[in-house]
């Protein structure tokens, strides 16, 4: 039952990817289908709950099927083209060398172990999931809606992506919704590889994907029912698609980026890294004097982002809306400007977010120096994007001190929040290896 349900989710995503693009390779389309399918389905479930329609297996299945059929009608021509492809050709590879085989085998073993852990262990050692994400899911399943969970308090801290994904697994008869996370991990690995492969040879792409896949903070979250890993996935893969658009100018990449970054805010709403995405997008748009497509992408992003924000802001007056966040930040920045605090925050960020990144930075730095000595500046814009994200991290951490007096007590949150820098830096490493 769970397999059928998750296939339905993937089918929904498959039609979304068809709507966006007809030229994706099989190994890119399938993981993207699951990632987009799960994101959009959870969002649809949220809309269903907003309309006070009970969150039951029947209702959700009918809704997903209706949307899937509707999308199917829209993309029927593309579907015919895609269905013509030969699966044996799609899976045909040049023979792997020993290193590639070794790395792929290790990744496969890791995935197997993650699946084993996820199938066996119910939500039991994931503190935050017990306190919030899985708690909300259980209440939704028990009551069919969101009202009871809202009444019990501590509800609006995070959007409902993880909770709705858990609801789906529970309704499908699953005992542990943990299974979603290793599947997302597998998709992340495949998508990271698929994008990097467009810039690099196979061996380097596999090596860098492997290093990304075995990053401790990513592996550590790949079986935890937290929001950190899904957030990293949507943000990173969205960023990579934005970069693909910058380099290859295909509109489908930008639409995928808009969907993925939008969904990252559906996983974690307060993090400000979408700002880097929008500014970078519009910077390129103005440079190229191309506005229609970036506007569509921004709209897609905003529709997804504002769905939760508007709702939370409407029901919870203390919820920090986007306008409140911006205006309060600006006012605090002017009124409470404090050099000592900036210094303290900088050290805090350096110690807990930047310092653990030094090993990967080292490798990137070496390659940048080597690349620049050879006058290779092809991928410099990605570095600027990376740098901009770091500035947001510093700035965001500083502004956070105005919102939360106890910021010094949660270095772990900052470390977890910075996990997405690892794949981005590894991707840059992959770009710079000559």
């Amino acid at each position: 039952m769970i397999i059928i349900g998750l296939l339905l989710t993937t089918l929904l995503g498959f039609f979304i990817t068809l709507l966006v693009s007809s030229s994706l390779r099989f190994l890119e389309r399938i993981p993207l289908s699951f990632v987009l399918g799960l994101g959009i389905q959870t969002l649809l479930m949220f809309y269903l709950a907003l309309l006070k329609i009970p969150l039951t297996l029947f209702n959700i299945t009918v809704l997903v099927l209706l949307v899937t059929v509707f999308l199917g009608i829209l993309v029927r021509k593309r579907l015919r083209t895609v269905m013509k492809f030969n699966i044996t050709n799609a899976l045909k590879f040049k023979r792997f060398d020993r290193l590639e085989l070794l790395l792929l085998s290790i990744l496969t073993i890791i995935l197997f172990v993650l699946l084993l852990i996820s199938v066996y262990w119910p939500i039991s050692f994931d503190w935050d999931a017990i306190a919030l994400y899985d708690w909300r899911a259980r209440v939704f399943v028990a009551t069919g809606g969101m009202d009871e969970a809202i009444k019990r308090g501590y509800f609006f801290g995070y959007p409902l992506f993880t909770s709705m994904a858990h609801v789906w697994v529970y309704l499908l008869g699953g005992v542990s919704p943990r299974i979603v996370y290793p599947l997302l991990y597998a998709c992340f690995i495949l998508l990271f590889y698929a994008v990097l492969r467009k810039f690099q040879n196979r061996q380097v792409s596999i090596l860098i994907t492997f290093l990304t896949g075995v990053t401790p903070s990513i592996l550590g979250h790949a079986f935890l029912a937290y929001t950190n890993f899904p957030y990293t996935l949507y943000l990173v893969i969205g960023t990579l698609y934005l970069y693909l658009w910058e380099k290859f100018k295909k509109s489908e990449d930008l639409i995928s980026a808009g969907l993925l970054i939008g969904l990252s805010t559906w996983v974690r709403a307060y993090e400000p890294f979408w700002i880097a995405f929008l500014l970078y997008l519009w910077f390129i748009a103005f440079r190229r004097r191309l506005f229609k497509l970036p506007l569509v992408c921004t709209l897609i992003f905003l529709i997804i982002q504002q769905s939760w924000r508007l709702y939370a802001n409407y029901l919870e007056p203390s919820y920090i809306s986007l306008t409140k966040q911006v205006s309060f930040s600006l006012v605090s920045l002017v009124n409470q400007f404090n050099l000592g605090e900036i210094r303290e925050v900088s050290f805090f960020v350096l110690r807990y977010a930047i310092f653990p990144l030094i090993p990967v930075f080292t490798l990137l730095f070496l390659l940048i120096v080597k690349g620049w000595l050879k006058k290779n500046r092809e991928h410099s814009s990605f570095l600027f994007f990376l740098l901009f994200n770091f500035l947001i991290l510093f700035m965001g951490s500083y502004l956070f001190t105005f919102f939360w007096a106890g910021w010094r007590e949660i270095p772990d949150s900052l470390a977890r929040l910075s996990v997405f820098f690892y794949p981005l830096i590894y991707f840059a490493i992959g770009l710079f290896i000559v």
């Binding site: 306190a131 919030l132 653990p356 030094i358 090993p359 000595l373």
Partner: protein, 317 residues
């Protein structure tokens, strides 16, 4: 001169950054695993320090290949000595740490014999800085003759060490947590939901089951404050997960909410008894010590002095 400088820069960069990286790897491996000196960590610590030593030797070897003359020879000697002594010390400290856990594990900080912190971020940053300055200075000033082969050799060795170090760090960290979670899967492959929850959560899970079995779904509980020694049962966000749809109320809640209270948790004496005052009760239900036994039901008021309050239970009011 500039080209010469860039060439030596290139030559010295790889070993130098490899060293820096392995210092950081050693540090982060320990820190990310919580600073606890578990047996696995002792192993990682030692392996990582050995890696560091290997890369240190490689780095200083590059200087041997390019032995300087005159005043630079002194500088060279210092770097050579520094790399070896520091790395040797790292290994000795690491091995000493392995001898006695309790002696060196003090409140999340690893300390050496003299009670000062070792393997701490700031110390490493200081050491990196010192090392970077020395090596960088040396490479810019240029020592001896540079060979293409040596350059290539160092590039390959350094990159391989760096990449394998990163991979090893990730895989070891993952293996430790994965082994802990897989062991029970192999030993008890067909274990049920309750067994798994009990395994991860402990006796608290049994207590929540006892609560669910002995109270109606609309029960409203007064719970202890979220301070020690009641970090779990006092945590509303945590406890509500296990006893839903029952509700929880804190002592500081408003009177209207307090009026709804139908039950009160009893925390056993050994775990920090609560409540600590006498309470007029309909009846008291205690959780038996051994699973499978019937709950002990007593129809009297709750008195914290009563010896039965060694057990966990519920006050029905």
């Amino acid at each position: 001169m500039i080209i010469q400088g860039i060439k030596s820069f290139n030559l010295s960069f790889f070993p130098m950054f490899t060293l820096v990286t392995f210092f950081v790897l050693t540090y982060t491996t320990i820190i990310t695993l919580g600073g606890n000196l578990t047996s696995e960590l002792k192993f990682i610590n030692t392996i990582m320090v050995l890696f560091t030593l290997a890369s240190g030797v490689l780095a200083s070897q590059s200087l041997i290949d390019n032995r300087p003359k005159g005043i630079l020879a002194v500088l060279y000697f210092l770097v050579f000595l520094w790399t070896r002594i520091i790395f040797l010390l790292s290994i000795i400290v690491s091995l000493l740490l392995c001898f006695d856990r309790s002696k060196y594990y003090i409140a999340n900080h690893l300390r050496n014999w003299f009670g000062t912190k070792v393997l701490h971020g700031e110390d490493y940053i200081f050491l990196f800085g010192l090392f970077v300055l020395l090596i960088f200075g040396l490479s810019i000033l240029k020592i001896g003759k540079e060979e293409e082969k040596t350059k290539k050799y160092f590039f390959i060795i350094s990159t391989v060490i760096l990449i394998s170090g990163l991979a090893v760090q990730g895989l070891i960290g993952f293996s430790i947590s994965a082994i802990a979670l897989i062991k029970p899967i192999i030993t008890y492959p067909s274990a049920g939901y309750d067994w798994k929850m009990r395994f991860q959560i402990g006796p608290f899970y049994d207590y929540t089951r006892f609560v669910n079995e002995n109270t109606p779904p609309d029960a409203v509980f007064l719970e202890p404050p979220m301070i020690m020694p009641w970090p779990l049962i006092g945590n509303e966000g945590y406890t509500r997960y296990f006893i839903f749809p029952r509700e929880l109320v804190k002592e500081e809640a408003d009177e209207a909410r307090k009026k709804k209270i139908t039950h009160i948790f009893i925390v056993g004496r050994k775990e920090g008894q609560w409540p600590t005052t006498k309470i007029k009760s309909k009846r008291l239900i205690y959780m038996p010590e051994n699973p499978g036994e019937e709950p002990i039901v007593v129809e009297k008021d709750y008195d914290p002095q009563d010896p039965i309050n060694d057990l966990w239970g519920i006050i029905e009011i």
